[in-house]
């Protein structure tokens, strides 16, 4: 996917991955507002540290890892607002991204589900990106699927 020589300029590749990177940012934050700033910061860090990027590593996964670290550092953290909304609405889902599939997932499980079920990463690879254990990945995948299935059955009931 990104088997480029690490000495080449990765900025062009990053632009190619922008839709995926933005989507991960949205899953990570659960909020559409301000994700571009997080994306820019993550990409700038990736460019600045491009000499550390290993050739055998996929560029998108590396950027996901950098972005998750940035998010965890707290510079872009805004979970308080999301939690409040969860409590007031009684939902177990995450933020308000404007995408039903994201909003229906628990906010800690959404990026895990995205990486595992959509990006095709293994539990171990997802755990490495998210900084959690593979067992935690398995649990979050189950929670995500339960939530998605429940949303689907609710929708079916509403249609009926």
């Amino acid at each position: 996917m990104s088997d480029k020589n690490p000495k080449t300029d990765i900025r062009r590749d990053l632009v190619g991955f922008l839709p995926q990177i933005r989507r991960f940012a949205m899953a990570l934050t659960g909020d559409a507002s301000g994700i571009d700033l997080l994306v820019v910061k993550a990409c700038e860090e990736a460019v600045a540290k491009s000499h550390l990027w290993r050739n055998e590593q996929r560029l998108d996964r590396w950027v996901f890892t950098l972005m998750r670290a940035l998010w965890n550092n707290g510079a872009f953290a805004q979970p308080t607002e999301g939690c409040d909304k969860q409590q007031t609405t009684g939902r177990t889902a995450g933020g308000f991204s404007g995408h039903p599939v994201l909003d229906s997932l628990p906010h800690t499980s959404a990026p895990v589900y995205l990486l595992c079920a959509v990006e095709g990463l293994s539990y171990a690879e997802t755990a490495a990106v998210m900084g959690i254990t593979p067992d935690a990945v398995a649990v979050r995948m189950l929670l995500s699927r339960r939530e998605l299935a429940a949303q689907k059955s609710h929708a079916s009931e509403r249609r009926a």
Binding site: R11, D36, E44, V47, P100, V118, A149
Partner: protein, 281 residues
């Protein structure tokens, strides 16, 4: 990941969907799904939910990306790298001296050394800084003559200290030149003591006693610390007279000082006068 054999059924199915279970567990779970309609229904439900979620996530990729975002990434500052400018390859020269080359080089160096030694030995009287500076006695006399030519034409400023301060003159010049002396009384030779002055000649302080005769001509007696002790030659005259243009100089050396009497070269009695002064001073 640990075995999911004891995990809830939906977790095992979830792991199966992610292909994260071992082969025996997969075979066992697929057998269960084939045999149990409830398990199969659960599997179908989770799989369909997965399919719909994947489709929804895929739709998110179609969202437009702002140009500002693209521009910010394209203009991000790349890490600095050491740039090695292309340089022309320098031809390497390997020194591999042969035995004959070593012998030839040794002989050549020996020849150079011998020639240099011969040249040095052939010029024992090499020019030294002392030679370049010249004869100190001659330099002293040159300066004395120059000063005499300059001051002898002065009328009001012929001397620094007048004759009325003879005691001071003796103290002053003794302290400055390091030469003990007496002021000769030459009135019998029609010379009046006018005074004294101090100047530098040949890099040394020189004391000068100034006299004037009836014709107004100036006779000066100059002395300085012994310049260069010379071996006394018994047959050499103690006084030596030289004439430089219109100035006559009579020189001699005492035990501790060099003396010179300066006067007009037309004065025929200058050497006699110098001999008299040499006995008094």
């Amino acid at each position: 990941m640990e075995s999911l054999r004891n995990a809830p059924l939906d977790m095992r199915i979830s792991a199966l969907l992610d292909n994260e279970i071992s082969e025996p567990e997969r075979i066992e779970l697929e057998a269960l799904l084939a045999a149990d309609p409830q398990a199969r229904a659960l599997n179908d439900m989770l799989r369909k939910a997965d399919d719909e979620a994947r489709l929804a996530f895929k739709t998110m990729l179609k969202e437009p990306v702002s140009l500002d975002l693209v521009r910010s990434i394209k203009t991000a500052t790349p890490p600095r790298r050491a740039v090695r400018l292309p340089q022309a390859r320098r031809p390497r020269w390997h020194l591999r001296p042969s035995f004959s080359l070593v012998c030839a080089a040794s002989l050549l160096m020996f020849g150079f050394g011998t020639a240099a030694g011969y040249m040095v030995a052939g010029r024992p009287h090499m020019v030294t800084y002392g030679d370049m500076a010249g004869d100190p006695v001659r330099a002293w006399l040159d300066d004395v003559a120059s000063y005499y030519r300059l001051y002898s034409r002065q009328t009001r400023h012929l001397v620094e200290v007048p004759a009325s301060e003879s005691a001071h003159i003796v103290d002053w010049l003794m302290a400055t030149t390091g030469v003990s002396f007496r002021i000769p009384n030459l009135s019998a030779d029609n010379l009046d003591f006018v005074g004294a002055r101090l100047f530098s000649a040949g890099g040394r302080p020189v004391g000068q006693l100034v006299y004037r005769n009836r014709e107004g001509e100036v006779i000066a007696v100059s002395f300085t610390k012994l310049i260069a002790p010379q071996s006394q030659q018994p047959d050499a005259p103690p006084l030596r007279q030289t004439i430089r243009d219109d100035i006559g100089l009579v020189t001699w050396q005492g035990l501790q000082a060099s003396y010179v009497v300066t006067g007009p070269s037309s004065d025929a009695e200058l050497d006699t006068l110098a001999a008299k002064i040499a006995g008094i001073i």
